[in-house]
């Protein structure tokens, strides 16, 4: 299959992989290649000018591109906590405190009293929890850290907004197993009994794992669904009138009380150049192609496909601002 | 050629040999009496080495090797059912054309290697080393450096070491395949002397290309010949004196007088 137009390649968020791959496959004006590498890699590669566009779940706080660029919210979605505890189906009730405990290694067994107390109807296995986490810099990690820090406290971030996990100085239990991307992690949770991990809902739907309900700020247990995530995201406020780094990003408050919202929901941002000479290998044609590609996603692809894949389109309240942002590419 | 089976130590009867489908020896009958040296002569490729290897069951190590006939050691067929090749090789020693001491072992260990390899107990190791080296007339040259690597010796010394190594097993028959062809005159002379001494205690079969050597060391001589594309065989067998001075077959005459080869 030969695509018309030019080839533009992007890298970044593995959280967004499902949505972006689906859109890239359906998009015919240009040839789009997306590689799921983790948001951190996406951002450094974009900053280095190696790719024409990027996708990240966390905006830049350091390592900025040397030239002007645009940050565009593309879509959102929930991060699911998943498990393969024997005999436990979907819908285990969890709180931020328990999740923090499990990840830090202070809660080590499925039949821990705190978990039992919330799940009286479920027969929990008398087994240890095999914790799996993302090691590479990822937007999922970044948002998780923010979330736990705001709700429980005691979680610190490293460079690139990621948890400093693998070095041992980070927040994860040293018995936990780390994975370079969420798909490897999903495979692990799927293949191991009594494992626990977290990744985007689209991977969680395809993988054969249990999906937990999360207690939100309003005090109810909510399963990760597109609509629950949509409620949370569309309640956040966008930033305008700032710098390249902040413009277009959402000011996400994980403690915000939104009824029926799934609290750990995150937003994927597209990264695109605004300077004619950047990135190094770009031409005007590639910039127009990126513009067209982002427009296609916001207007056509995401609204049509997001729900089935476990993502949320940008709500109507934000859409105009986003489309205006896209116009500044080039 | 009708040979009576007498008190011979080793005798080959109707030996034919194949490599795969190709027959290289046909109907060889030879007797190697105790205390006699037998020389096998003949042009290259006529099957001397092959025949020699059938005498201690080294022949069977070659894939596709075939054999007909019998070899008797003191009246016992070495190819009989239930006869162990290893026990035959212990009684029938062999020295190769190219000296092949074990490079990783010292001189001393080379002498004892046969016993170790065949899993026998070693008693009086020092004495055995000395006697063996003495019988191979190399003791004086190496007695001060028994711990040295065997390959530090010269070619001739290595060959005598290999002879000594065989002698340490106390064989009843010693087979030698052109043992001097890679050696200098001095070493050759010494090995020839060794052969004469050894022949007092065992039967010796030696393959040689050197007519003079055959005349000097052997009591009886067998002349092998293979015409193109036919299996080789013994043309004439008799006392060395007769083969060299009054051969019956004209081809023997041609060969020993250097008209070919």
């Amino acid at each position: 299959a030969q695509a018309a137009g030019v080839s533009i390649s992007g890298k970044g968020s593995s959280f967004a992989n499902g949505m972006l791959q689906a859109c890239a496959a359906a998009y015919t004006n240009n040839n789009v290649t997306y590689t799921s590498t983790g948001s951190g890699t996406g951002r450094t590669e974009f900053a280095a000018g190696n790719i024409q566009w990027g996708a990240t779940d966390a905006a830049y706080t350091s390592g900025f591109p040397s030239s002007s660029y645009v940050t565009i919210p593309l879509f959102g979605g929930p991060v699911a906590f998943v498990y393969s505890a024997v005999g436990v189906g979907d819908g285990l009730n969890l709180t931020p405190q328990i999740i923090s405990g499990i990840l830090k290694g202070t809660i080590t067994r499925w039949d821990d009293a705190q978990i039992k107390a919330l799940n009286t109807k479920i027969k929990l296995p008398k087994k240890g929890i095999k914790v799996a986490y993302r090691a590479s810099g990822s937007g999922t990690n970044s948002n998780l850290t923010n979330y736990l820090n705001q709700t429980v406290g005691g979680w610190v971030k490293g460079s690139n907004d990621m948890v400093a996990a693998a070095g041992g100085s980070g927040s994860f239990s040293s018995n936990a197993t780390s994975f370079a991307n969420s798909q490897l992690l999903a495979a692990y949770v799927e293949d191991n009994s009594n494992a626990f991990g977290y990744f985007d809902l689209s991977d969680a739907i395809t993988a054969d794992v249990g999906i937990a309900k999360l207690k939100n700020a309003a005090g109810t247990f909510v399963a990760p669904t597109a609509s629950a995530a949509g409620r949370f995201i569309n309640a956040q406020t966008p930033i305008t009138g700032g710098t390249d780094a902040t413009n277009g990003t959402l000011n996400i408050d994980f403690t915000k009380v939104v009824p029926g919202a799934y609290q750990l929901s995150i937003v994927t941002y597209g990264l695109a150049p605004r300077n004619a000479s950047y990135p190094a290998k770009s031409t005007n044609a590639t910039k127009l192609a990126v513009q067209d590609w982002f427009n296609y996603m916001i207007k056509t692809c995401v609204p049509a496909k997001a729900a089935t894949l476990g993502y949320v389109p940008i709500g109507s309240s934000l859409k105009t601002a986003v489309l205006n942002q896209i116009k500044t590419i080039g | 050629m009708n040979l009576v089976k007498t008190t011979s130590t080793l005798s080959a009867e109707n030996i034919s040999v194949w490599f795969g489908e190709r027959q290289v020896l046909e109907n060889v009958n030879l007797v190697f009496p105790a205390n006699k040296v037998t020389a096998l002569i003949g042009p290259s490729g006529c099957g001397k080495s092959t025949f020699l290897r059938t005498l201690n069951r080294m022949h069977e190590l070659i894939p596709g090797a075939g054999l007909a006939g019998s070899v008797y050691l003191n009246g016992e067929d070495i190819y009989a059912d239930g006869m162990d090749a290893v026990s035959v090789r212990i009684k029938v020693g062999m020295v190769f054309q190219k000296p092949n001491p074990f490079p990783t072992m010292s001189i001393r260990d080379n002498i004892l290697s046969g016993l170790k390899l065949s899993g026998r107990k070693i008693e009086n190791a020092e004495e055995l080393v000395e006697t063996s080296l003495r019988r191979a007339s190399i003791w004086n040259e190496v007695k001060d450096r028994l711990g040295d690597q065997a390959i530090s010796l010269s070619g001739g010394q290595q060959q005598r070491l290999c002879i000594a190594r065989s002698l340490a097993m106390n064989p009843e028959v010693l087979l030698m395949d052109e043992p001097c062809s890679a050696l200098d005159p001095g070493s050759t002379r010494r090995i020839e002397e060794t052969i004469s001494e050894l022949s007092e205690t065992m039967a010796i079969v030696i393959v040689t290309h050197n007519m003079q050597q055959a005349q000097r060391v052997s009591d009886q001589t067998a002349f092998f010949l293979a015409d193109e594309n036919t299996p080789g065989g013994v043309v004439e067998f008799g006392s060395t004196e007769q083969i060299f001075n009054g051969p019956i077959d004209p081809r023997t005459n041609d060969y020993v007088n250097g008209h070919f080869g």
Partner: protein, 353 residues
């Protein structure tokens, strides 16, 4: 004297055969026994094999060996049993790799999988669409470019090592050997640091550059062996006929070593065709077909596998297996060629002897 009725016999076989039968029996009997035990005790099969079958087998074989050959039979039996056990074990592991790739890969593979590229493919796209055509082309282009540089240079090195009498030969050989130990990821880092120093941007050619230091020593080493295999007599014969060195090389040695040099080429290809890490560092992937090695991204089969393996979707994993099968087929074809050429070479050299 001749008696045409005699037949070739192998009298030494008789003893061997009866022993062999005993050994085979001895090997066969413990097997169901152990299986049964394992089944009853619910043991892991490999473990019960190692902890029960092998020791049992050792004892039985030693006994048979002892009966046939006395004490030395014990040692020989143990040697044989252990050799066969270890070899089988490792063969099973290695064949399991082949088996997995072939069975899993076969599910994905089809003409369209080999022919099409990946542009309209998402993780949920069914296996009826898209394929590794672009990755096959990418692999071929990247590897071809490396080959164009590494083979002439490697062969020239081999010529120097075999034809000249220069004193630096050993040093050159040492350095070539050092190069052959270069970890592939380091080769990638090396090119990456050049990319960053020169701002040259990533494309197919940077990937080729990263493969070059890996292919060069392989080609040089195998080519040297191939040239060394040409009997030195031939070279002397040519020189004795008044040939200058270069004519002796091109007219006599090169034709004689041709198949060996082709083997060097193919082994060099096999060395780099499956490389992943250096290409991840130095190239951008592309889901479309890109035939221009100087601009844009390019996907090769190994990087395709690497990327698709990072997805939990069933179809993505199936695509990774499919690409692995295609890659193995490429390597297999290279080897079959090398083997065929190597065969004709050995036949020739036998005939010259």
């Amino acid at each position: 004297m001749s008696n045409s009725s005699i037949r070739a016999r192998q009298p030494w076989r008789r003893a061997n055969i009866s022993t062999s039968i005993q050994i085979v029996l001895a090997s066969v009997i413990p097997l169901p026994l152990v299986m049964l035990l394992a089944l009853l005790a619910g043991l892991d099969l490999t473990m019960s094999f190692i902890t029960l079958f092998v020791p049992l087998q050792l004892i039985v074989s030693s006994f048979v060996g002892y009966r046939a050959f006395g004490r030395r039979g014990i040692g020989d039996a143990i040697l044989v049993v252990l050799t066969i056990f270890f070899s089988t074990f490792v063969l099973i592991l290695l064949l399991s790799v082949l088996y997995s790739v072939i069975t899993e890969g076969a599910k994905a593979i089809s003409f369209q999988f080999i022919g099409q590229n990946n542009v309209y493919v998402s993780p949920t796209t069914s296996l009826d669409y898209g394929g590794v055509g672009h990755a096959i082309l990418g692999t071929l282009i990247v590897v071809l470019l490396t080959t164009l540089a590494a083979v002439p240079l490697g062969v020239a090195m081999a010529i120097y090592l075999t034809q000249s009498q220069s004193k630096t030969r050993n040093l050159v050989r040492t350095f070539t050997q050092a190069l052959s130990g270069l970890p592939s990821v380091v080769s990638g880092l090396f090119i990456l640091s050049i990319i960053e120093a020169t701002q040259m941007g990533r494309s197919g050619i940077t990937g080729s550059l990263a493969l070059f230091p890996l292919m060069l020593p392989t080609v040089a080493r195998v080519a040297e062996e191939a040239l060394r295999l040409v009997p030195v007599d031939l070279r002397y014969a040519a020189l004795a006929l008044g040939a200058p060195n270069y004519r002796a090389f091109f007219q006599v040695i090169l034709p004689a070593a041709k198949s060996g040099l082709l083997t060097a080429l193919l082994l060099g290809l096999a060395r780099v065709v499956g490389e992943t890490a250096p290409l991840i560092l130095t190239m951008n992937p592309s889901s479309g077909t890109n035939l221009n090695p100087f601009d844009g991204g390019m996907t090769t089969l190994p990087t395709y596998i690497y990327n698709y393996l990072a997805s939990s979707y069933q179809t993505s994993q199936a695509r990774a297996w499919g690409a692995a099968l295609v890659l193995l087929m490429v390597v297999g074809i290279l080897f079959a060629l090398a083997r065929i050429l190597g065969k004709s070479k050995s036949k020739k050299s036998k005939a010259t002897k």
